[in-house]
Every structure is written in structure tokens, then in C-alpha cells.
Symmetry: C2
Subunit: 636 residues, 2 copies
């Protein structure tokens, strides 16, 4: 057994010789970035061996620059311990937990800007949280009225609510007699929706109706964000986010599925990681807002199908193999204690239902948030993430599809790509030949996030620094371009402005990668429109969601051919529509029921079965597109 | 600490000095009969101190004969340990567990004799067990049909059943993907009723529809009886019964409530005792019939309100105090694991709902079993036990009441009274001055049970050995009469025919006790009839239920004034109608729903609030009745 110490944290773990540094880090609960699930092909798990002997081979140093190799860098997933070790995880391989800048990295307030033209008669406007507390003043029993305690409660609940039928948990019934008699026959019942019944989750003495809270959670592949909500008023008390702790098992959904399905029990740590995420958010929100976690009685979570499966510990393995069949698209109502979520143990946990393996509850939540299924006008939602999901429809029909766009716009697979957290370049202009950028937070920059990458691609094209295929063209004397490790790189930030002390650059492969991603998204949009026989002109609004941070320059997104070239006013950036949809479901039983109808009624088109998609994809791998007539407003 | 050894079993327990012998026995899990809950007034807990020193006072020897005192007998509840002890529990103070003669003591087959004139269209005839197994051959997923596993199951269930909506437990969903893929997409789903939904309790590979069992349980104060039922066919595979193990905490309902409510945690051992009873019956039935207990997926239990509360561990304390309010009259569907019942952990446990604190689910089950609520004819059910419960009604209305009759007809409070188990005199005639009796089982007699006591009372009256008030009249030379301990006793069985070696007798106080009991039952019947304004003639059938064993001589029951004097053909002994009703509920969801309607729609008359009852009671304390016109056919 060897002791491996991970720096700068100093966490230690004992491992057997031959264990990879990545496995050691996972066991120690230390995060090392990793995009390929440990296959040695993404190069994100660079670590520096500060002390000790390792077993390394050519795979251990692939994707590394000469400088890095000389400094002692290796890929953690390809390098094995051969003595006690000290391993330094450099800034770019590290997640900085707790430093996520909520106001920038995860856009939770933006969806509020959507003006939903709803009629007050629309049942989705009915305010009726999934759990409600009802205060009861019961008549004391008398010889003339000796109904049972439970009948007494039911009778009063029928008077004070519109519900007829109630069901009570055994646990709650067991202490009831004393609770009522010791508290002068006043009590507060917590009700939860359950089909046509209302479940009584708890009976508390006295009036506790003010103390009822809910949690809306967006379980993203990258980030988990939660809002704490006061259920009586519907007010958002606070919001918190953290990186998805599953990242230590693989950066994208596919690599996490591979981990979960690779060996017996592989699912468990992935499940636990999300629960840990959610519990961490509950703890920090409830502490901050002075809320007793036991007063949280409902959680609504939305996530893609794989995240939903992992949250509930459902086997996700068939999701990634043809014909892409999940265990379920709609999920049972679960008690918090069944999952170990640290709220009231009888509190309910519901997931927004999804449509298919690659169009999950996050998209349905987005459809809800954008009000797409409420009105006759045809509207579209585009969610750009690891997968680009597109939904198009109105109050009568809805179709959707997803394209494997890759995580490029979340910073994945890009040399200096990163999530929209502190230190990320989120906005960039090349003007008079000079790069000017704006980064998230104060201090030196660390990399570039999705919105910045869109800007980079657009600005390079606009300044003719790349051609339509994305190839750099430059004069040898142009100092912004450097050749390094056989790659041409364009400098975005000089070494003295960065946290790592190295330039932040964009490389030729990065650009190809981004063009493939944007092409996949556009091709998916185009294919879906063709499938339903509609022109872009027929779409009233394009809603765009995604982990871009709070900022997305829509004209530039159109300029690179990611989004279709239609009037600016018809494209609306909605940020984290998944979270907003989850909150809407939490606050209205009708909306939650509507979500189930939408999930069920939406037709999913498998693009892999749709011949035209490949043609569209090939045609879209050009800036802005091989068919320039599709982008009349783009003038570079 | 002293060691107390209970003989003849030899069970030992360490107790502190000052612990009563009854408490020591309870801790050791040894049963000593006990009717008053340890108050020293029933005299049923006679034990013989064979060795050691005790702390005894006048209470320790009250109710004992001189002979008994000289032999070392004491009352276990009034006597404390003061050294190591050996305590002999004599035959009459002992339960003989496992010796209950099912075919005699608990009448489970008799109700089958009831001819229910039902229309096939009657929904209560619909065979639809509370849990059902449905075999599914699922279509394998393909690119054209990639619905989720769960949707695939739901789709097929909709085809194969009449149900629309299904809900699945998380546990069941978690393993689903592998189960289906490893078993060629064949599976059996276990469905349970739940409101308008059907709950999927488990998914098993292959076809297991044959292996689905249910348990109907009558939780009586005295006896717990269970039937094991094959749910696909409805066949009764077997039946088993045992004494209610709660008896160690008090023989009747009231003393057990006192125990449960007397101290913190008092309810727990009473709850555990019933669970132990049920688990014991499950074990013995499943072993005998070669059934895997995990294939039992549903339990329906019926019992009085106190038993129902104790089974579910609901606080029963307000049941016994004015205005007699239970925690609930209808009970939630519970999972077996919540109660620790040893069947499939996700299996359901339901209780037949009751009407009020003293008219419980056993009576509603009886109403179901007798088909009283199905037809326009007015019929009545009389359940003679510790309480006499009466229900009268038809398909439009139902009223009921209960009278505290005392446990005399269950053998309680009678010197040689006993339950209808081995050794009990169940039938008796005095002919030509000679007593002839028939007892249960082979071997010597031990006492006399309910049906025997009715016969004794009738035969004594018919032979003018007692007068209308129950007073013995006899000539001093009549050897059948003996004076002992200042009491006149009539010998039923001579010493050489009994297991104890003492005569089995009936005493003057026994007779008074029986007359009070029969008077209470009759007065309740009469009061209820008056309350609804009906004459006995208006009742098509009187159903009589109770723990009399398999035998009840109806003319004699009429002859003592227990039952009203109507044509013999209109009185029907139905035995354990509670068990039959529980089974009917188990086998038909519609019947279970009907039970809830009946429980809700039945009006309970509190006799304590009904002035006329006391008058009726006083008038009925005579043989057969002070108003002989009510009993024209009785000719002694």
C-alpha cells in the first residue's frame, strides 16, 4: 500500500501499487477534471507529480506539451502509483467548489424576464404548491360528536380546502391522538398531491403554515442549482449552486454512464454524488436563510434523463445503447427518506418527467418555463449543452430531438475551455486587431467559457483570421499567432493576465471542435423544422437556454451559424429555463400535471434514424454555413 | 436480583425483589391467565409457589379456597418475589398454545353455509383480489419503438387489465432495467389497489402468476385466526389459529388498554404481541402448505377497534374514556415492512374499517359476510363476545350498537369457564337428573366454554334447579349440589373425569354473571329495535356470530333469553363472520370499497346515552325475561 497525498488540499489516501492517480483521487474524494471517463484522450486530468515514483508510459504524457512533461506533468488517468506520492493538482485541473458565482455562472433570474401572456383562467396559473400546510381548529369531541380523530381532521380539511379525499401515512397516524389532545385540538396538516388524493405527510401542533418550504433543483450535468422557496407566498428566498460532484467520475454524461455501468455497484457513487450535491445546497440555503430543513416538505428536480436516473438510482445503462431506452420517462413520487435527502423525511421528491433518453425533464421544464405549450403560436426552444436539444410546437403539438453536440460550449474539449465560473472569459471583441475581453469575477483569468467561445469564433471570422472552414490565416509576423507543440494557437490573453501564468489561447483543433458543435445544433434545428414542414419564419419565438452564464451575444451566435438567422427580436435568451420550470411545477400541481401531459404528448425524432440530418450537419460545418442564403444578415 | 423459574415449562428470568410474579411471567414471555389486568379481582392468575420466599398479603390469597391456600396457591398479580423462586402454573391458569382445535374452537368453515342470494351483476361478486399478479410478454425495444421500460410495462398492463393508471415504487423501479433484459422481456407485475391507481409492488422475471397468496386474519381479543388463500383461484389453502398473545397483558380489551396507556411505551408490547401472533400463523401456514412467505402479497385483517389500533400501533387510550373517540375508524393501506409482518416487504396490509370505538371492523366484516347491506330485507347481526355488538339494517340503512356484556360467554369471570379449546365442555344436557356432556377433543375435561354455559343455564332452568332470578333451589340431600367456601356449587363433571382432579362446577355467582351477560345482549338487541321502530317480526334473519366454537344450540340460547324468541329458521349461526368478511374483502376490491361505505354509512347508537337501555337491561335479568310474553315458546 502506498500513501498518495493530493496538493494543495493535502488530502491523503492509501492505495495499492498500480492504482491510477485518477482512481486514487476518486477514492480520496478529490476532484480532477476529466472529460473522457479516464480513457486518456481528453487531456483534462493533467497533474504534477511533486514527489515519489510513478509507473508511466507514452499514454501518461500524451496530449502534454514538452514544457509540461519536463515540469513533471502526467495524465492522472494513465499514470499509476509505484511509491508514496505527492501529487499537485494544478488550477486548470481543479474545480473550485464554492467559488461558483451564482449571479454569473448560473442564470436563475433571467427566466423571470420572460413575459408569459397567460390568461388568469389558465390552470397553470393556479397557485397550488405540491405540498401545502393547512391550519385546523378542531371541534372537541363530545357525546354528540364522537367522530374519530382522523374523521375530525378530514371533515375540517374538506371545509378548508377544495379536496375530498385524504390519505394518511401510518407514521403520522400513530402519534395523532396525543398530539391533538396535548395541543387543544389545533393542528397543521401538511398535504401533498397524489393523484386524486391528498396525502397527509405530517400533523404538527398549532399553526405552522408559515413554515413550509420547497426546493426547486436543476440537476445539470455540470452544475446543480437549487432555489429555496417559501411555499405559502411562492417567494424565492435564495439560490445556491455547485458543480455536479459526479464530475469526478467523468465530465460528460456518457463517461458517467460508462462508469456507472462498468462494474457492479458503479451506479451507487454517482447516485450518492447527486444526493450529496443536493444536501449540500439544502444545508447552505437553510443555514443562510434561517430555515429548519425539516420544514422543507417538497423537492422538484429537473434534469436530463441520465441525471434523473442517477438521482433516483435507476439503472441508466440502456440509455446510451441503440435503441436508447431509459428505465422510465416519468418518475414516481418518492419520499425524501427513500433517497436520503435531508429535508422532512416524509417530504416528497418529484422529478419533472422527460420525453426520451436524450430529451429529458430539463427540456420539459424549459417548455413549461417558456409557456410553449400554452398558446397556438409555434415556438421553439434550443438548449445548448453537451447535447443540443430542440423542441418546437404549440398548445396542440410538440416535437423534439437532440443532437450530440459535445460539451464544447460548456468548455469541454477546448484547450482552455472552462465552465462559466470565476476567471472565465465570457465576452470578447477583436477590435483594431486587439483582443479585449471581459471575465467573470475579479482577478486573473483562467480560461474561456461558452459565451466567450461563441464570441471568439465570431470575432475571428469577422476579422478574417479564420476562413469559412475555420482554418487560421495569418501572416507569419502576426504575433498573436504562435506555433506550439505542432499546433497553431491564437492568443486570447497574455501570460501576465492569467492565473496559470501561461497564455490563454484558442487552437486550430478547438476551432474545428466548436464548428462541429455549432453545426450539430444548427443541423438539428434545421432537420426538425424540415421534419414538421415549417420554415423559420413560422416560428414566433426562439427561446435559447444553456449554460452560457448570464451573458449570450445573440447576434454573434447567429453570426457563427449556431442559431438561425431571423430577426433579433424573435430570439430570446432564457438562461436556466430548467430551474424555472422546476419551480413552476413545485408551485402548481396543475403545472406538474401539465408537464406529464407535455412529456407524454411530445414526439421525439431520433436524428440518427433521419437521413437528412447528416446532410444538414455536413452543410452546417462552415462559417456561418455552406449555404450563405440561410444567413443573409451575416456580413463577414 | 432473584431468579424465578416457571414450571412446568422451566422458563427462567432474573427480576428485582418486589417484582410481582405476573410481571416476572410477562417478562419471561410465560402466559398466566388474567382477566382484570392485574388488579387482583378476577382470581384467574392462581399459581403455586413450589419453592422460595414471597411477599404476600391478604390480596395475594383473596378469591382462593382454603385448600388452595394450604397447598401454596397465590394470585400471581398480587404476590412479589422475595428470593429465588419456583412457580408452578397450574393447568387452569395456563394457555395451551398450539392445542387450539381449529375445527372446533374457531369456526371458519361455517360461514360458507350462508347462502347469499346475490346477483352475478352485484359488484361484490366481482372477483378482484386486492393484489393481483399479471404476466407480461413485452415487445423488445427497437428503433421504431423505444418507449421506456416503464412505459412498455404500463402499455402491456393496460392491454391485459381494465386499469388505466399505475404507480410504481422506487425500489421496484430501481432494478427494473436489468430484470427485463436478463429475462427475455418476460415479467410478472404484482398490482395492488390504491384508490383509482394500481400500485406496482414488484416485478418478477418470468411467469409467477400462480404464486400469489393472501392472508385473511381475524384479530380477536381472545383468538387470532388466519386463512392462507391462493389469490389466483380464491381457494383457501389452510387455516390456523392461536390465542391472542396479548392475553399476558390482560384478558379483556379494557385491561389491555389500561396496560397500553398506563405508562410510556406501554403500547409497544401489545402491538408486538399481535404482530408476533400474525407472524407465527404465517410461518406455520406457509411451512405446512409449502408457500414462500415472500409470495404472500396482501393481508386483510379485521378486529374490533382496539385490536385494530394495537395492530397498527395507534394510541388506543381515548377509546375507553367518554366520549369514546378512536384515532381512526378507517385505516391507511400499509406496507408489510412498516409493521414487520413477515410477507413480501412491499406487500400491503389493510384493515376492515370500523364504525366507532365499540363497533369495529369485525362487525363490518360480519355485515359483509352476511350480505346484510346487499338486499332490501332488514336483517340483524348479533356478535356475542366481551362486547355484544348488534347491527340491524339493509341495503339502504344500517344502525348498530354495543353493550358491555362481559366475557362470560367466552368463559371469562366464570369459575371453570374457558375458551372453546381442548377439554372444554361445549354441549350439555340434564336428563333424568343426570348431567351428560360432550367436550372438545379427547381426554379429560378442563372447564366449560360459551356454548356449554348456555346449555347449563338452560338445562338448570328447564329442570327447575334454578328459579327465574337464577337462584339455586334444591333439596339438601341432592348430592349434585355442594357448599364450598361459602358458595353453593352445582357439579357438572365429577373429579375423576377432569384433568385437574377437582370437580368442574357452576356456582351461584357464575349464574348471576351469565344472566347479566345475556341480559345485556338481549337489552341491546331490544333497544336497537325500538330505536329504529321495528318489531322482531320485521327482521328477516338474525345472524349470530361469536366465539362459541363450532356448536351453538340456538333453541337453548333463545330459551335463556339471550336471543329473541322468533322462529328457529330465522336465526342463523354464522361462526366467525369476521374472518369470512376479511377474506371477502381480500378477494374483491369492490367488497373492500363497500366495507368502507358501510362503515361510514352505519349509525352508531351509544347505549350509555339511551335511557331505555337501562330499563331493558333490568327487565332482561331474569330467565328467560321478566316479560314472559316476549318468550312464548319457552315452556319451563
Amino acid at each position: 500500500m502506498f500513501k498518495v497525498t493530493f496538493l494543495p488540499e493535502g488530502k491523503e489516501i492509501e492505495v495499492e501499487g498500480g492504482t491510477t492517480l485518477m482512481e486514487a483521487a476518486q477514492s480520496a474524494g478529490v476532484h480532477i477534471n476529466n472529460l473522457c471517463g479516464g480513457k486518456g484522450v481528453c487531456g483534462r486530468c493533467r497533474v504534477k507529480v511533486a514527489n515519489g515514483r510513478i509507473r508511466a508510459d507514452k499514454h501518461s504524457i500524451s496530449l502534454l506539451s514538452k514544457e509540461e512533461i519536463l515540469e513533471g506533468y502526467v495524465l492522472a488517468c494513465q499514470t499509476k502509483a509505484d511509491s508514496d506520492l505527492e501529487v499537485l493538482i494544478p488550477a486548470e485541473s481543479r474545480l473550485e467548489e464554492g467559488q461558483i458565482l451564482m449571479e454569473c455562472s448560473v442564470d436563475y433570474s433571467a427566466p423571470e424576464r420572460i413575459a408569459l401572456h397567460r390568461l388568469p383562467s389558465d390552470p397553470m396559473c393556479l397557485y397550488e404548491p405540491l405540498t401545502q400546510k393547512v391550519y385546523l381548529e378542531l371541534k372537541k369531541p363530545s357525546p354528540e360528536d364522537n367522530a374519530s380523530d382522523m374523521d375530525r381532521i378530514t371533515r375540517e380539511l374538506r371545509k378548508k380546502t377544495q379536496y375530498r379525499d385524504f390519505e394518511i401515512s401510518l407514521r403520522c397516524l400513530q402519534g395523532l391522538a396525543l398530539k391533538l389532545r396535548n395541543n387543544d385540538w389545533t393542528a397543521t396538516a401538511t398535504l401533498a398531491r397524489h393523484g386524486d388524493l391528498r396525502r397527509i405527510l405530517q400533523i404538527e401542533p398549532g399553526d405552522t403554515t408559515e413554515k413550509n418550504y420547497g426546493l426547486a433543483v436543476d440537476v445539470g450535468t455540470t452544475t446543480v442549482v437549487a432555489q429555496l422557496i417559501h411555499l405559502k407566498s411562492g417567494n424565492v428566498l435564495g439560490v445556491a449552486g455547485s458543480h455536479n460532484l459526479q464530475a469526478r467520475f467523468g465530465e460528460d454524461v456518457i463517461s458517467r454512464m460508462i462508469y456507472a455501468c462498468g462494474k457492479e455497484g458503479g451506479l451507487h457513487p454517482l447516485h450518492q454524488a447527486i444526493i450529496e450535491n443536493i444536501n449540500h445546497l439544502i444545508k447552505s440555503l437553510s443555514t443562510e436563510k434561517g430555515v429548519n430543513p425539516l420544514d422543507i416538505t417538497a423537492v422538484v428536480a429537473s434534469g436530463n434523463t441520465t441525471m434523473s436516473h442517477m438521482l433516483l438510482s435507476l439503472i441508466p445503462c440502456s440509455i446510451r445503447v441503440d435503441p436508447y431506452v431509459p428505465t422510465a420517462n416519468t418518475y414516481p413520487q418518492v419520499r425524501a427518506r427513500e433517497l436520503g435527502i435531508d429535508i422532512h423525511p416524509e417530504g416528497i421528491v418529484e422529478l419533472v418527467p422527460g420525453v426520451a433518453s436524450y430529451v429529458g425533464g430539463d427540456i420539459v421544464a424549459g417548455i413549461i418555463a417558456c409557456g410553449m405549450a400554452d398558446r397556438p403560436e409555434v415556438r421553439a426552444l434550443i438548449d445548448v449543452g453537451t447535447n443540443g436539444e430542440i423542441a418546437v410546437g404549440n398548445n396542440e403539438w410538440m416535437v423534439c430531438c437532440s443532437a450530440s453536440a459535445g460539451p464544447a460550449f460548456e468548455g469541454g474539449g477546448i484547450k482552455h475551455g472552462m465552465r462559466a465560473t470565476r476567471g472565465a472569459i465570457e465576452k470578447l471583441v477583436i477590435s483594431d486587431g486587439q483582443v479585449q475581453y471581459k471575465s467573470i469575477g475579479k482577478g486573473k483569468v483562467k480560461g474561456i467559457c461558452g459565451s466567450g467561445l461563441i464570441d471568439v469564433l465570431y470575432e475571428l471570422a469577422r476579422n478574417y483570421l479564420i476562413d469559412g472552414e475555420g482554418k487560421f490565416h495569418f501572416s507569419p509576423q502576426d504575433k498573436r499567432f504562435v506555433e506550439k507543440d505542432g499546433e497553431i494557437q491564437f492568443t486570447l490573453a497574455p501570460a501576465d493576465e492569467t492565473e496559470t501564468g501561461h497564455e490563454i489561447v484558442i487552437t486550430q483543433p478547438d476551432i474545428s471542435h466548436l464548428i462541429r458543435s455549432k453545426g450539430a445544433v444548427y443541423a438539428a434545428i434545421k432537420s426538425l423544422m424540415d421534419y414538421v414542414g415549417l420554415k423559420f419564419e413560422a416560428i414566433e419565438t426562439f427561446f435559447v437556454a444553456g449554460g452560457f452564464g448570464s451573458y449570450l451575444d445573440i447576434p454573434k451566435a447567429v453570426g457563427i451559424g449556431l442559431l438561425p438567422d431571423i430577426e433579433r427580436a424573435r430570439i430570446q435568451f432564457v438562461g436556466n429555463s430548467s430551474l424555472m420550470g422546476a419551480r413552476m411545477c413545485l408551485l402548481s400541481t396543475h403545472t406538474m400535471e401539465r408537464a406529464a401531459q407535455i412529456a407524454k404528448g411530445t414526439t421525439n425524432i431520433e436524428l440518427t434514424n433521419y437521413q437528412q440530418f447528416m446532410d444538414e450537419y455536413v452543410a452546417a460545418m462552415f462559417l456561418p454555413h455552406t449555404d450563405r442564403r440561410l444567413f443573409p444578415s451575416v456580413n463577414y
